[in-house]
């Protein structure tokens, strides 16, 4: 037998209902049940081994980096839980067949249910910590789906969300705890971990680990103060409650306590936290249960209370208490599942679950009533029923503890109070529903449910009785095996008999029954007392808390992310300043000295440049003037490049600058002509100016340091290899088209993309065109001054010739494809300027974006050409030829590349300008002069 099959069969089973849904509810339910039933059979087949104390383990590697193995084991505890999960699961499948109506998505429901079943099996069978957590979270996920099955219902949505949030948070804590455990033990194998209890308990991290793991367990098991999600999860269809909230999901929490009992228990901290949590949950749950008018609400709080009881037992740190806990897990699962199912039947048949209107059902559904009453009695801890046995053990164990010192007596007393409350709410369940007069206005006329809907309840109640009467015979071996697994040690002696003689626990039971009955009898006073306190709806509170957090997050977010680019830019620059400026504090500039004294030209240039820059800023409100100043700056920068031995740069900067200015002028027409300065607060000016100055200082300082220090760079290589390796004497150009041709390819790609992007920006743009200029003067009449047109036309061939000249000499002298392209483009722009877009578009039929494409393609192909010669991309080739008349000349692949650059530049520049110009084809209203 393969252990993997146990969770694997239901896993496959998730799909079964989806495919069988259309065959009808009977077929669907039957088909769905098949695989879990097989799984159950497999579990049962392993019983002999398990009862012999043999632990079966199987594993497969999965993600070693995470120490996540696909690893399962089957010990007593796992066996017990598998039985509950599969057994009760099968009953719930049967029950749900009748519970859900024809109209509902039965397939989806079963699918979720099986998904949940798989997840639960995974949890209880995992022998790898991470895998355990994996399935643990899956239970939260699938229970979310189940609770929210009626998602159109607000309560269902909110309940499911709350359940997910709380159990999810617990899951996160658990993950942290498990990782810490794994790290501490050095293994994520559960078997290894279980044997390393001492390492963990003695570790300094023990309190943290304990809190994290308990966080997982308590949230899942709805322990106080995390209990509030469970009642709201009752918005789920009742089969879900019967399954999740009695036998399985909420038990996952106590399962975790049981699983890690050998590792984490037996310390004072454990005792304090677990016992007190359990105790308060026990009391609180039982007390509130008493006041719930909703049938399922009562059961939910009773569940909370019983989970508290189990937790309390685990907390007591005695072996017998742990055994009692395991026993109560079984018992509670059985009677609570049957009670939920009964409640579901009542709800189903009456159309309501409100005990204030449901009365006297004994008359209408005697069989169901009997079953429910037996189960309720078990819940109350009445002898002859299973609930009584574990409660007796519980009372007994509360007496055997002393960690609270002189206050230790409180625990048994409070336990008895809890017992009394349980009796009271059980009584209410029985009396208020089945007796207490006639039903009030309920939507349906109640009668017995369909035959097979009752079967699951009958089976479960039968178990209650059988276990209650013949405990040793029915659950003895199972309990032994499970307890052994929990304790991870040989079992102490204990007796599972119905009668232990008259002892203190029996007295406590008696007191509980009497007190509980009295309490119920005087319930009206109690209800009146309770009515003084406002009822706190956890859902509303939770909702309000989450909403409150979201609202304040929204406010904070709006304050921080205020939509001001100014602020974002300021932050970016400030951040950059801090990053670049901080290291400079330790820069010692004294070792840096000037090498060249400045001459007159340089000084004048500097003055002009500074003047131009400052004037640009000062005039930035009057944009046209600022542009003029900026264009001056551009020219001076170009001249500076020429002066500082960079002719190529000078040419490029100059041509780019002119095209840019033209572009800005074009744009300026459509933008406000002046910036409104009165918007800016003086304090902002000071702030911005300070930042700008600081950044400027940092940049200047770095620049000075770089200029005055010797640099050992790779550039000598370029100077040495330019002619021999690249075939050109203009080293800058050879770098561009050869050594770093890849950069240039990228650069023209940028240009091409920008043009395409601009084309997109311009598409469908409608702009406000001022009919007067900024001083409210109407525009001049003449669109295209004649002499400009004439002169531009005659300059065009000349400009093209010059661009050809610049292009061809680029490899050896200043120039190259880029500058030539810009010169051509500028010459054509001049034509646009002189004649207008319309005139040009009639005459120039070139598709500029095709031109970009061709340019890029040529550049790319010139690079790919080298593949034919078994060289890497962009490897250049050049050679010298001679022809009769022409003489010797050079041909180089770099020139083809440069041609690509040339075409791309022209295409991109003109695509931008020509389309920009098209915006204005709409005629402006000519103003009267």
């Amino acid at each position: 037998m393969s252990l993997f099959l146990i969770p694997l069969l239901p896993l496959i089973g998730i799909l079964v209902p989806l495919f069988t849904e259309r065959l009808g509810r009977n077929a669907c339910a039957t088909a769905t049940a098949v695989l879990p039933a097989c799984s159950l059979a497999l579990v049962l087949m392993a019983a002999p081994n398990v009862f012999d104390g043999v632990v079966i383990q199987q594993q497969l590697g999965w993600i070693p980096a995470l120490n996540l193995d696909l690893s399962f084991h089957l010990d007593g505890l796992g066996f017990l839980f598998s039985l509950l999960i599969l057994g009760i699961g099968l009953l719930v499948i049967l029950y749900a067949r009748y519970y859900l109506s024809e109209k509902e998505a039965v397939g989806r429901f079963y699918s979720y249910l099986i998904m949940f079943m798989t997840a639960m099996l995974g949890v209880v069978l995992s022998s790898n910590l991470i895998q355990l957590w994996f399935f643990w979270e899956l239970t939260s996920v699938s229970s979310f789906l189940l609770i929210s099955f009626w998602g159109h219902n607000t309560d269902a949505r909110k309940g499911a969300r709350m359940a997910l949030a709380i159990t999810g948070a617990g899951g996160l804590a658990l993950l942290a705890g498990l990782l810490l455990i794994g790290n501490l033990v050095g293994s994520y194998d559960l078997r290894a971990v279980l044997d390393s209890g001492d390492i963990i308990r003695n570790s300094s991290l023990y309190p943290v680990i304990l809190l994290l793991v308990l966080g997982g367990a308590f949230t899942k098991s709805a322990q106080f103060p995390f209990h509030f999600w469970l009642p709201h999860a009752m918005a789920a269809p009742t089969p879900v409650s019967a399954y999740l909230h009695s036998a399985t999901m909420v038990k996952a929490g106590v399962f975790l306590l049981a699983r890690f009992y050998p590792v984490l228990a037996d310390t004072e901290l454990w005792f304090l936290i677990v016992t007190l949590t359990g105790l308060s949950t026990l009391l609180m749950g039982a007390y509130i249960a008493l006041f719930k008018h909703d049938l399922k609400g009562l059961l939910a709080y009773s569940t909370i209370s019983h989970l508290g009881l189990i937790t309390l037992l685990f907390g007591l740190n005695t072996e017998l208490a742990a055994i009692a806990a395991v026993f109560h897990i079984i018992n509670h699962a059985v009677f609570k599942a049957s009670l939920f199912m009964a409640a579901g039947i009542i709800d189903h048949e009456c159309g309501t679950r409100d005990m204030r209107v449901i009365n006297g059902l004994w008359k209408y559904m005697p069989i169901t009533a009997t079953l429910a009453m037996v189960a309720a009695a078990s819940m109350a801890g009445i002898p002859l029923l299973n609930g009584f046995l574990s409660k007796e053990m519980f009372f007994a164990e509360t007496l055997h503890q002393s960690t609270l010192g002189a206050l230790s007596w409180l625990i048994p007393v409070l336990a008895t109070v809890g017992g009394a409350l349980a009796v009271a709410y059980s009584l209410r369940f029985i009396h208020d529903v089945f007796f207490n007069g006639e039903p009030k206005e309920i939507p349906k006329k109640p009668h017995e449910p369909p035959r097979y809907m009752r079967v699951p309840v009958e089976i479960l109640v039968a178990i209650c009785l059988l276990v209650g009467i013949f405990p040793q015979w029915t659950v003895g071996p199972l309990l032994d095996a499970a307890s052994m697994a929990v304790l991870n040690a040989p079992l102490p002696k204990f007796d599972l008999a119905l009668w232990h003689g008259i002892n203190l626990p029996l007295m406590m039971s008696l007191v509980a029954v009497v007190a509980g009955s009295t309490l119920y009898y005087h319930r009206r006073n109690l209800f009146r007392f309770q009515a003084q306190f406002p009822e706190v709806d956890a859902k509303v509170v939770f909702h309000n808390v989450v909403n409150g957090i979201m609202l304040s997050a929204r406010k904070l977010n709006a304050k921080l992310e205020n939509g001001s680019l100014q602020r974002y830019a300021f932050l970016l620059l400030l951040f950059a300043l801090l990053l670049a400026g901080a290291p400079l504090l330790s820069l010692d500039l004294s070792s840096y000295a000037e090498t060249t004294p400045p001459d007159g030209v340089f000084i004048t240039g500097t003055i002009l440049l500074m003047l131009g820059s400052i004037m640009t800023v000062l005039w930035s409100h009057k944009r046209i003037v600022a542009l003029l100043m900026l264009s001056l700056v551009g020219v001076i920068v170009s001249v500076a490049f020429a002066y500082l031995s960079a002719p190529d740069l000078a040419l490029t900067q100059l041509s780019v600058e002119v095209v840019t200015i033209i572009l800005l002028l074009l744009a300026l027409f459509f933008l406000p002509q002046e910036s409104l300065m009165d918007r800016t607060k003086p304090s902002h000016i000071v702030r911005d100016l300070s930042l700008a100055t600081l950044i400027g200082s940092v940049v200047g300082t770095i620049s000075y340091a770089l200029l005055t220090q010797p640099l050992d760079s790779i550039s000598t290589f370029f100077l040495e290899n330019s002619k021999s390796g690249g075939g050109g004497t203009n080293v800058v150009n050879v770098i561009l088209v050869d050594f770093r041709g890849f950069d240039t390819m990228g650069e023209i790609a940028v240009l091409g993309i920008a043009a395409l992007g601009i084309y997109k920006l311009l598409a469908g743009m409608t702009l406000y065109m001022p009919s007067k200029d900024m001083a409210n003067r109407p525009w001049a009449k003449e669109k295209h001054p004649m002499i400009l047109s004439v002169v531009s036309q005659s300059l065009l061939p000349l400009s093209l010739l010059i661009s050809a000249y610049i292009f061809l000499r680029g490899h050896n002298l200043p120039g190259g494809g880029f500058i030539a392209g810009l010169v051509t483009a500028v010459a054509l722009i001049q034509q646009y300027l002189a004649h207008g877009v319309e005139w040009m578009s009639k005459r120039v039929k070139i598709s500029y974006h095709s031109m970009i494409g061709v340019g890029l393609l040529i550049a790319l192909l010139s690079g790919l050409g080298s593949w034919l010669f078994d060289r890497p991309f962009l490897t250049s080739w050049f050679d010298y030829f001679s022809l009769p008349v022409v003489g010797k000349f050079e041909l180089a692949s770099a020139m083809v590349f440069d041609l690509g650059v040339y075409l791309t530049v022209i295409g991109a520049t003109l695509l931008i300008l020509a389309h920009l110009g098209k915006l204005t084809t709409t005629e402006r209203l000519e103003e009267k002069y």
Binding site: I63, N183, G563, L584, D743, V750, A754, A763, W867
Partner: protein, 500 residues
């Protein structure tokens, strides 16, 4: 040279060629042809990425000397495992986003397909390059393409968001050049390996300069990655973009993170002498705050797209915290998390797009609206993606998160890191549960929206969603690769190869 010898340059050249052909006749202006061609190119790119990964696995790191000029003089491309993983991630992302767009979004403006290809070219180049200035160039390619793609479809919101995005990045580009100038001026070289080599032997008086330059780069990468306080552009930009574009953008923040690994993890990494790990001190608190800001954003989001955009910020914060912790194990874990978080963000953007289509006027805002006609499919998609992003089993999110937690277990920053990640997970859980239940279940009246979802959109989403279980099922091999990548990064194998 066989084609396999050129494999490192193919991920750049293929999209470039495709983009060029897409703007030329006969493809130009024929939307159906363009679609088929672009998808074919994407598929080819995916194949090449896989091939590259296999090649690196078999033959080691691939170094490609462009123009046959050896490093450090020429530009070389260095394809190590990390780069190859990023390329593979990009191609999966590209393919699914592109398929989604082919359902009709691509026709809502011009040049979508070529721009998309250019974008891929830029991203791939940024991942592959081994040269600082070339990195700048590829950054600019991917940026300019993203500027153009972002406004695809037009409209007020996009313009507004694009203005922020473009101008901030333009400032960033300017800073990038300042940084490059400073680094070239002190180190005298641009090749990563050579730079790393020279950083170690820098004279003391030049250390502050190199440090200033290096840290300035952090600002630029931080801007790309959306590190606080540079993250403000992200939510609006990503949420305003067309779904397919937003999905592709999911990789863009990761380019920033990848670059921090490359530059600050390697050039200024362990062996950098006095400058070793200089970025980490800055990175740690800021990454933490980024994550916090992401959480605030997630809580504040009132539409699915904004929510997803803020989730991206959370993932960035998480990753950068991991980067700041700076161990081999953390890096391996972070790489896995990066792959997963990128895919899931993309998936969520696509899903948000579909939701927006389906809900009529309510779009993807968290308000009550008419019922979605067939909520099951898209709801399931959302549910899967949400589980993944929260980090819940059975999808890849939990692996990423658990790997990160596990890898930091013995680090001094552990408590903060764990706290941050776990709380962020909880916040995502709460908000996504709310979002999902509102979008798919809360409805008003009995009217049902009539729009249906085109098949290609579904295909796009499904491809991404399929990655999540696969990343878990094949978690073993994948984590092996991420560990190999981290090892190459930390043992300087890439450097040695790049300096050849």
């Amino acid at each position: 040279m066989k084609l396999v010898d050129h494999i490192a340059v193919l991920p750049v050249l293929l999209p470039f060629l495709a983009a060029i052909l897409l703007i030329l006749p006969p493809l130009q202006g024929r939307i159906q042809w363009q679609r088929s061609f672009a998808i074919a190119a994407n598929l080819l790119l995916l194949i090449i990425s896989v091939w590259l990964l296999v090649t690196i696995n078999n033959q080691g790191i691939q170094v490609y000397a462009l123009g046959n000029w050896q490093a450090p003089f020429g530009i070389s491309l260095v394809a190590d495992t990390m780069a190859a993983l990023m390329l593979l991630l990009t191609s999966v992302l590209g393919l699914s986003a592109h398929l989604y767009a082919c359902a009709g979004d691509d026709a809502r403006g011009s040049f979508f397909h070529p721009l998309f290809m250019f974008q891929l070219m830029g991203i791939n180049g940024a991942f592959l390059t081994g040269d600082a200035f070339n990195m700048f160039v590829f950054f600019e390619i991917l940026l300019i393409a993203s500027y153009a793609l972002m406004i695809h479809g037009g409209g007020k919101q996009r313009t507004q968001a694009n203005i922020h995005y473009v101008f901030l990045n333009l400032i960033g580009s300017t800073l990038f050049l300042f940084a490059l100038g400073t680094l070239y001026g002190t180190l005298g070289t641009l090749n990563f390996a050579d730079m790393a080599d020279r950083v170690a032997y820098l004279p003391t008086e030049q250390l502050p300069l190199a440090k200033a330059g290096g840290l300035l780069l952090l600002a630029i990468f931080g801007l790309k990655a959306a590190l606080l306080p540079l993250q403000f552009w992200l939510p609006r930009t990503y949420s305003a973009a067309t779904p397919a574009v937003a999905a592709l953008f999911a990789i863009m923040t990761k380019v920033g993170i990848y670059s921090i690994w490359r530059i600050h993890g390697v050039i200024f990494g362990e062996q950098a002498g006095e400058l070793a790990n200089m970025a980490q001190a800055w990175l740690w608190p800021l990454a933490f705050l980024t994550l916090a800001m992401g959480c605030i954003g997630v809580l504040a989001s009132q539409s699915l797209r904004l929510l997803v955009a803020n989730l991206v910020i959370i993932s960035v914060g998480t990753l950068l915290m991991a980067v700041a912790i700076n161990t081999e194990q953390t890096t391996a874990a972070a790489l896995y998390y990066l792959i997963h978080s990128t895919l899931v963000a993309a998936a969520l953007f696509l899903i948000a797009g579909i939701v927006q289509q389906l809900r009529g006027k309510a779009e993807d805002r968290f308000v009550t609206a008419r019922k979605i006609a067939k909520p099951a499919f898209i709801g399931t998609c959302f549910f899967i993606a949400a589980l993944t992003v929260i980090g819940m089993p059975p999808f890849s999110g939990f692996v990423g998160k658990a790997l990160l937690l596990k890898s930091t277990i013995d680090q001094p920053q552990m408590a903060w890191f764990w706290g941050a990640i776990l709380i962020a997970g909880l916040i995502s859980l709460v908000t996504l549960a709310r979002a999902g239940t509102t979008l798919f279940w809360r409805s008003q009246g009995n009217q049902v929206t009539s729009e249906s979802t085109p098949a290609l959109q579904i295909v796009g989403v499904v491809i991404l969603l399929a990655c999540f279980p696969l990343l878990v099922a094949f978690g073993g091999p994948v984590t092996e690769l991420t560990q190999q990548a981290a090892a190459q990064l930390y043992q300087g194998i890439t450097l040695t190869a790049g300096a050849m």
